[in-house]
């Protein structure tokens, strides 16, 4: 079995299984914690607060928006860019079609793929350099944050290196990093991809019930 076959075959299957089961395990665990019963009479809908809390956090309030503009632009650029690359990159669609799903969908044209890659890379680099440049971010960042950022960066970079599709070894390195990323994901802060709506919703629900969400 070649290196490429290993990382795209059994190792990928294992990593994907860890990713799915681990993420489910974490999510169910968080939901099962539950919350203390609030016996005070609600002033407004907690469910509406959950939704409002989620939506409201997509747009920072004025003063914060001004102070964190670089972070906001970088964050949106990276997250939206990565989403587009993962689900609309032609190589990814082909891989998912052939290996997992059995169907495909329209892919980004090459120029759009490259442009999106540039935006995503710019966003990720901006987020990380802000993490090391801001004294507050330095204090609240730990190894997990840096490993998550770098692992994601290396996955993207190795994918970029393999774009020519001329060498199996480059594709193999990319897939190996993808496998590692999938295994690392459920046990790290990368899980925020799935948990952000719960934390925002929890805050929204609490304040919504108190009638505080505007």
């Amino acid at each position: 079995m070649s290196f490429l076959n290993l990382v795209e075959g059994p190792l990928f299957t294992f990593a994907a299984a860890v990713f799915v089961l681990g993420a489910l395990w974490r999510l169910i665990g968080i939901i099962r914690i539950g919350r203390a019963k609030d016996i005070s009479p609600p002033k407004a809908s907690a469910a509406a607060g959950f939704i409002k809390g989620n939506l409201r956090h997509f747009f920072p309030r004025g003063i914060f928006a001004k102070r964190t503009m670089v972070h906001i632009i970088g964050g949106y650029g990276f997250h939206l860019g990565l989403f587009m690359l993962v689900f609309f990159g032609v190589y990814h669609i082909d891989f998912l079609n052939e290996r997992i799903l059995g169907f495909s969908w329209p892919a980004l044209p090459r120029w759009a793929f490259l442009l999106t890659s540039a935006v995503a890379f710019s966003g990720l680099i901006t987020l990380w350099v802000r993490r090391i440049s801001d004294p507050v971010m330095q204090l609240i960042s730990d190894k997990d944050d840096h490993i998550g950022s770098w692992l994601t960066f290396l996955v993207m970079l190795s994918g970029c290196f393999a774009l020519e599709q001329a060498h199996d070894s480059l594709r193999g390195v990319h897939m190996l990093l993808v496998d590692i990323w999938l295994i690392y994901f459920p046990f790290s802060r990368l899980m925020h991809s799935f948990t952000f709506f719960l934390s925002r919703g929890q805050s929204g629900m609490t304040y919504g019930r108190k009638g505080k969400v505007r």
Binding site: M69, V70, L114, S117, A118, F121, S122, I125, T126, V129, R130, I132, S133, D134, P135, L157, C160, F161, A162, L163, E164, A166, H167, S169, L170
Partner: protein, 343 residues
């Protein structure tokens, strides 16, 4: 000797004629590559010897005509009788004999000089020691712009060096296959990060241009060699060395960006010489910046105590500011840099 030379020339002539024949045989090729107008059929006296294979055209005239393709019309069909350009050969010689041979040494020499300087001079300490009080020097967005550029610069520098020097540095030691893999990866990375560099350059310019214009006081810095060999040098927020580095990055970055765009989109230029010039200027500009960047890194880290704080924390020690940027210190604090503070 004379006979050998004579037979070699005949061999070349015959080869050229055979190539022309092959061109006629391939319909597609025949549309873009045509034999010279004065070419003769192989049957024309070939059996009787090579005496009149080129008709009445001399060798010099033949080769001048053969190599006389117009480089300014890269994508236009070659005029009749003109098959190839020679600027590519000149470009290749510059690339092989100068750029690949010597250019890679520039960063190595700079690193060597810095190592010697460090061993002889040692790091520049804050003479009065750290005061424990700090001054804000760079905003968060300026620091992010700086590190963003630094990150992109490192990626482009590494991938660019692999592309430029892989064949002479990597291939002999790791083999052609490894070099091929690394060059393929580097090429894709370089092409993708190139446009990000343009964005980083604009961002850096906007954040740092203020305070980086040259002033008369910079002459003192030059005459005192920046204080690297002793003595105090006054300066505002940025000294002459920092300003020079800033404009090197901006102007060199513009050259690298423009030539990079030309190489990414070769259809933008009609004349092949622009492409050839672009590769040369791109390499020269990039290697120059990489070499000087080592000096920048040296002064910003181990070469000068307290410098790195400005880019990691955004603040510098007051004594550092008094010693290296006294006029800036006075400007932002309203106090004299020479006065001893009373506790």
């Amino acid at each position: 000797m004379h006979n050998q030379f004579y037979s070699l020339r005949n061999f070349l002539k015959l080869s050229v004629l055979m190539l022309m024949l092959a061109a006629f045989a391939a319909p597609v090729a025949a549309q873009s590559v045509r034999p010279p107008g004065n070419a003769v059929n192989l049957d024309d006296g070939i059996e009787d010897g090579p005496s009149n294979a080129l008709g009445d055209v001399s060798d010099t005239e033949f080769w001048d005509n053969f190599r006389g393709g117009n480089p300014s019309e890269l994508f236009a069909p070659a005029p009749e009788g003109q098959v190839m350009t020679t600027t590519g050969q000149q470009w290749r010689m510059i690339r092989e004999k100068f750029i690949r041979k010597y250019l890679g040494w520039a960063p190595v020499i700079v690193i060597g000089l810095l190592a010697v300087f460090y061993l002889v001079r040692g790091p520049m300490k804050i003479t009065a020691g750290r005061s424990g009080k700090t001054l804000p020097r760079f905003t968060l967005s300026a620091r992010v712009a700086h590190w963003f550029m630094a990150g992109v610069f490192i990626i482009l520098g590494l991938t660019g060096m692999i592309i430029l020097l892989g064949r002479v540095v990597i291939a002999p030691y790791l083999g052609l296959e490894a070099n091929s893999v690394l060059t393929s990866a580097a090429m894709q990375g370089h092409n993708l990060f190139g446009p990000i560099f343009i964005f980083a350059l604009i961002w850096l310019f906007i954040k740092f241009v203020r305070g980086n214009f040259f002033q008369w006081i910079d002459l003192k810095w030059i005459f005192k060699l920046g204080g690297f060999f002793g003595g105090h040098v006054s300066s505002r927020q940025f000294n002459f060395g920092e300003k020079t580095w800033f404009w090197m990055v901006i102007l060199g970055g513009i050259v690298i960006s423009v030539t990079g765009v030309i190489m990414l989109f070769p259809g933008l230029v009609e004349d092949v010489r622009w492409l050839q010039l672009s590769t040369i200027l791109h390499a020269l500009g990039a290697v120059a910046l990489i070499a000087v960047a080592f000096g920048h890194i040296y002064v910003g880290t181990i070469g000068m105590e307290g410098s790195i704080d400005s880019m990691l924390k955004g603040e510098v020690d007051e004594n550092w500011a008094k010693e290296h940027h006294d006029l800036w210190y006075e400007e932002v604090t309203g106090k004299s840099a020479k006065e001893e503070e009373t506790p």
